[in-house]
């Protein structure tokens, strides 16, 4: 057994002349992993290769210690997946569908039925579970997708854009569920998304791909620590005064379009800012250190890669 959930070596995937994955070397430890990258970077391709939905062109990949090329079926028994596109097995009601999915993973009917209902409870689906899947709204379909992906109690779950098409309330409910999968139930989550805020909230590791190559694989904490010394401050009033006071300290400061003040104070913790606030009798409602660390890392890594290419 290996300690890695996902391990790839020189993984290459080509579609005709298009190179989707270009020699990817990865060693992913259990956790909540955010899979990031621009459109066409190879995020979905990577997931599909790991599930053996797509054939690997060259190199090797292991999931939960098992060779993907040889043991696709056994791996999928221990892994869950929510595809990006709209999809379901037609002609069933919700609870029947999830039960069926569990049976397809090898659960006996009694256990499948029981777990299906528990998962539907978990994703917060009520009586709708007795309605036909074909009639579901986008929000319910996304919940159902999550339920079918975890019904067989997988060790890893791959989520491809799970908050797409949801309204704000649906998004935050979905994120809370995803968050609890790793934090409370120890299920490794690999979340592919365009929404950095989602990753910021849910994940503890980041994988950034571009043009089929790995740009960054790091823990979120480490990424943020690298960008210490800048903060966004929400003051209760007198923003201009605060920005001015910070500038007097020699810190570059600006008022952002949303009224927050961005200060580059250079300190290890927030003490310098608190000092300025106390001095000027100002009140801060919120102080977020390097709130855009992820965004900045993303842009910087891609620009560097672009420059190198």
């Amino acid at each position: 057994m290996s300690e890695w959930v996902v391990e790839t070596r020189g993984l290459v995937k080509r579609y005709g002349r298009l190179v989707a994955l270009n020699g990817l070397d990865l060693q992913v430890a259990p956790g909540a992993i955010g899979l990031l990258g621009p459109n066409g970077a190879g995020k979905s391709t990577l997931i599909k290769c790991l599930l053996r939905l797509h054939r690997i062109t060259a190199g090797s990949a292991r999931v939960l210690g098992a060779e993907v090329q040889k043991e696709g079926r056994n791996i999928r028994r221990r892994v869950g997946y929510t595809p990006e596109q709209d999809c379901h097995i037609p002609g069933m009601v919700g609870s029947e569908y999830v039960t069926y999915c569990a049976q397809l993973c090898g659960l006996p009917f009694e256990a499948a039925r029981q777990r299906a209902h528990e998962m539907l409870d978990f994703v917060g689906m009520g009586q709708e579970r007795y309605r036909r899947v074909d009639t579901y709204s986008t929000g319910m379909k996304q919940r159902l997708k999550l339920a079918q992906a975890i019904v067989h109690d997988p060790e890893v779950v791959f989520l491809d854009e799970p908050t797409n098409g949801l309204d704000p309330k649906g998004q935050s409910q979905m994120l809370r569920l995803i968050q609890s999968l790793w934090r409370e139930h120890g299920m490794t989550v690999i979340l592919s998304t365009h929404l950095l805020h989602d990753v910021d909230q849910v994940c503890d590791q980041i994988i950034l791909l571009a043009q089929g190559r790995l740009l960054v694989h790091d823990s979120l904490e480490h990424l943020k620590a690298q960008r210490r010394g800048a903060a966004e401050v929400v003051v209760s009033d007198r923003e201009e005064e605060f920005a001015q006071a910070c500038r007097q300290q020699g810190w570059p400061s600006e008022i952002l379009s949303n009224g927050h003040v961005r200060v580059e104070h250079g300190g290890e913790d927030l003490a310098p800012i608190l000092g300025v606030l106390r001095q000027n009798g100002l009140a801060a409602l919120e102080i977020a250190p390097s709130p855009n660390a992820l965004e900045e890392m993303y842009v910087q890594a891609l620009e560097t890669a672009h420059g190198a290419a």
């Binding site: 599909k48 599930l51 939905l53 797509h54 054939r55 696709g72 079926r73 056994n74 999928r76 028994r77 869950g80 997946y81 595809p83 596109q85 709209d86 999809c87 379901h88 097995i89 037609p90 002609g91 069926y100 999915c101 049976q103 397809l104 993973c105 090898g106 659960l107 006996p108 256990a111 777990r115 528990e118 409870d121 978990f122 074909d134 079918q148 992906a149 975890i150 067989h152 109690d153 609890s180 999968l181 409370e184 139930h185």
Partner: protein, 331 residues
């Protein structure tokens, strides 16, 4: 504890084997297919036909035994006919290897082809539920992300049609064989009816596998139900339209019809012509009476074109298999 944890629970249990998972696909699909109202009519038709076949077998059985109901009834008739029937049954009773086998072979040949038409109807009704809808709702990717692969999926789906055809074709035929021979005047019938049974198993078994493959391929043609059913009907009915011109001039044309090809194979297996000839040549009196009217018929009876028919079916089956594998790729 007053408050109970109702959140996520882990599952620890033994996983079922791969055949159980394939069976799950078949069972679910079969349930969906049988839920159709028209399908129930077809099923009723098939089992009604089985009843009819059993009745026919029963009547024939009665004809072949000296102390049977029909012979006793004929005792009330006038002298010549009574003597005739009496001597005929006596002969037939002494040669069951000809009488039972020949008659039953002919009955099973004809009924097999009747069931076949019902089976084709049943497939028509089942097609939307097989792969068509899975294509339209992207279900393939859901299947492919579970612990089943493409072959498992297709095996499971094939199981739906095999199950359905068992219900409308093989099942009624076997039931008729069993009931017909149970009602026969004596137990020897079972032994002498073994050849028709084996012929039926061979033809119907092979036909079922072939039709399942073909039906499955037809349902994978399109993600629109009407298009898939239309394609199937075109394959079936338009193919049949090529048979008459094919018989007149270009013989290869008739092999465009898989229905016709199946009939040819049935003829090759049951050999109804040989059976009729044997009856004519061996049965005293009756054979002589029948000789003249049967002569023209048997002379014009062309031998089945077994080899090209078999090749056409083989090509279709292999083509269907390859097509199915390509259509259900997730890449």
């Amino acid at each position: 504890m007053a408050l109970h944890e109702l959140g996520y629970r882990h599952w620890e249990g033994r996983h079922r084997g791969i055949w159980r998972r394939r069976w799950t696909i078949s069972a679910h699909g079969l349930k969906a297919v049988l839920a159709n109202r028209w399908m129930r009519y077809v099923l009723t038709g098939a089992w009604g036909l089985a009843l009819l076949q059993a009745a026919v077998l029963f009547c024939i059985g009665q004809l072949l035994v000296a102390d049977s109901l029909i012979v006793q009834w004929s005792a009330n008739l006038d002298g010549l006919l009574r003597t005739f029937i009496g001597s005929l049954t006596l002969w037939l009773e002494q040669h069951p290897e000809i009488s039972v086998r020949t008659t039953q072979n002919l009955v099973f040949y004809n009924f097999s082809l009747l069931y076949l038409t019902l089976a084709l109807l049943a497939i028509t009704l089942a097609i939307p539920h097989l792969i068509t809808r899975d294509l339209s709702s992207n279900a393939i990717i859901i299947y492919a992300s579970k612990a089943v692969n493409r072959l498992d999926y297709l095996t499971g789906k094939l199981g739906i049609l095999l199950g359905l055809l068992t219900l409308v074709w093989l099942g009624p035929l076997l039931a008729a064989w069993l009931v017909g021979n149970l009602l026969a005047p004596n137990w020897h019938f079972f032994w002498h009816a073994r050849i028709p049974l084996l012929n039926s198993l061979l033809f119907v078994g092979g036909g079922m596998v072939f039709l399942s493959l073909l039906g499955l391929a037809a349902s994978a043609v399109s993600s629109k139900e009407k298009a898939a059913v239309g394609f199937w009907l075109l394959l079936w009915l338009l193919g049949n339209a090529f048979v008459p011109p094919g018989q007149r001039q270009e013989p290869w044309l008739q092999h465009l019809s898989f229905h016709h090809n199946l009939k040819q194979i049935a003829e090759a297996i049951y050999q109804p012509k040989t059976e009729l000839e044997r009856a004519r040549d061996n049965i005293p009196v009756l054979g002589d009476i029948l000789r003249r009217p049967m002569h023209r018929h048997l002379r014009d009876w062309r031998a089945p074109r077994t080899r090209p028919a078999g090749m056409a079916l083989g090509i279709l089956a292999v083509g269907s298999g390859i097509y199915l594998l390509r259509r259900t790729r997730t890449e």
